[in-house]
């Protein structure tokens, strides 16, 4: 499946917090994924994604499909490729159900 962002969403990367989260991830700190590193707004509602969510979100470009995103995520975080595909799919389906992306 090929995810595409809802064009009505306005978002930004929280650069400083993103860098801090990566620093924590590299140091194997358990709470690296607790920080909101990407802020997005839809219909007046405001939400944040953690580092993993943000890395997936920034790869949702209407070009990459779920397998391509998962492959990049596996490499980025050093994860098992098969498990990563499942996790990425579940994440994409979750945000699709919230109307943040469409899946074709």
């Amino acid at each position: 499946m090929r995810p595409e962002r809802n064009p009505a969403i306005v978002w930004r990367l929280e650069k400083k917090i993103y860098d801090e989260a990566w620093e924590a991830a590299r140091n194997d700190e358990e709470d690296f994924d607790d920080k909101g590193v990407l802020t997005l707004m839809l219909k007046g509602g405001i939400h944040q994604l953690n580092l993993v969510g943000a890395e997936i979100w920034t790869r949702v470009d209407g070009q990459r499909d779920d397998a391509a995103i998962a492959a990049e995520m596996a490499e980025l975080f050093g994860w098992e490729p098969e498990e990563t595909v499942e996790a990425v799919r579940a994440f994409l389906e979750g945000i699709a159900s919230r109307g943040w992306i469409t899946l074709s």
Binding site: R12, K16, Q48
Partner: protein, 336 residues
């Protein structure tokens, strides 16, 4: 889990002009006629906001269309990636202006309509014919595909008749109707006794209005009131507790002075003279708003962690204290 604030404001409300062709009964800005920034300085303001990744720039205060360089500023802001919106009384939006608004790439325009009854709206806005002009502006914008919201200030004139306003907003093709709560700042302070509701009236209003979000479709009914926590109706995805000013948003006055919001007349610096990032991160005033302590009936109230004592602007205007319980709150001492 809520945050105290984000790394920089999501929204900056900018009074790009203090001038207005109306003198509305509730307006917070009519009594503060600050001089406005030159075009050159205004362009610098936009650069600063863009450098700090501000997402939304909303022109409020005064009538933005009175500024001759409005479209030049907007083109600069949209070119920098800002989503630009404005609030207008609609009176200056004819076909040509609506074309320019569409072409400028506004992310949305809010038109003020406070009653579905033209005479009531005109009396509140103290301008005969203003209802018809606002409705015309809304239609012209929608005909051109400009995203439209209707902005209404809830007070004595409309707290029972708001469903008709929602119907009108739907009919005009608005995606959202913002039902703003009345603030007793500026003209609103002078006319408080005639316009503000009692805590019981606020309760009755919200008890009718909040459920409409579930029953009325095709339009978003938006409130910006932290005391909605009292009805368990606060935004479940809220990133910050209490009101958003100084946590997700800031206000820039026409002369460049920065305040937490338009209704809190406490300056934290000047956008062109002070470091914006430092102001946001280290202002003692913002720190106070982000870390309020419970006083009076808020002490022991189970809603405090979500409500933070409600609207600070109202508390400050009525009791002269950031910390005082919101004067609109209907909780009885010891029962929250």
């Amino acid at each position: 889990m809520t945050l105290t604030h984000l790394a920089s404001p999501v929204t900056v409300n900018w009074g790009i002009t203090a001038r207005c062709n109306f003198v509305c009964s509730h307006c917070f800005s009519r009594l503060d006629q600050a001089p406005e920034l030159s075009t050159e300085d205004a362009l610098r303001v936009i650069d600063i906001l863009a450098e700090h990744s501000v997402m939304f720039l909303n022109y409020g205060t005064g009538e933005p269309l009175l500024r001759k360089d409005l479209f030049e500023l907007t083109a600069h802001a949209t070119g920098k990636g800002l989503k630009v919106t404005m609030n207008s009384n609609g009176s200056l939006i004819d076909e040509a202006a609506a074309d320019r608004i569409r072409d400028a790439g506004f992310h949305g325009v809010g038109i003020s309509i406070d009653s579905a009854d033209p005479a009531t709206h005109d009396a509140f806005r103290r301008m005969p014919g203003s209802f018809d002009k606002a409705v015309r502006a809304a239609r012209l914008l929608r005909e051109r595909g400009v995203p439209l919201s209707i902005s209404s200030v809830i007070c004595k004139i409309n707290h029972t008749g708001f469903p008709e306003l929602v119907t009108l907003a739907l009919e005009l093709g608005a995606h959202t109707i913002d039902l703003h709560n009345f603030k007793c700042s500026g003209m609103g302070g002078l006319n408080k006794d005639q316009l503000d509701l009692s805590p019981e009236e606020w309760k009755a209003f919200y008890e009718r209005a909040v459920p409409m979000r579930e029953t009325v479709h095709d339009i978003e009914i938006a409130f910006d009131d932290p005391i909605l926590s009292l009805l368990g109706a606060e935004d479940k995805a809220a990133l910050v507790a209490g009101s958003v000013c100084g946590k997700l948003s800031l206000y820039v006055k026409p002369d460049g002075e920065v305040t937490p919001c338009g209704f809190i007349p406490v300056t934290i610096g000047h956008i062109l003279k002070d470091d914006f990032g430092q102001m946001w991160e280290s202002s003692p005033v913002l720190d106070h708003l982000r870390h309020k302590s419970a006083t009076g009936k808020c002490s022991g109230c189970s809603k405090f962690s979500a409500c933070l004592g409600g609207c600070t602007a109202r508390a400050l205007a009525v009791y002269g204290s950031y910390e005082a319980p919101d004067p609109h709150c209907w909780v009885e001492e010891g029962k929250g």
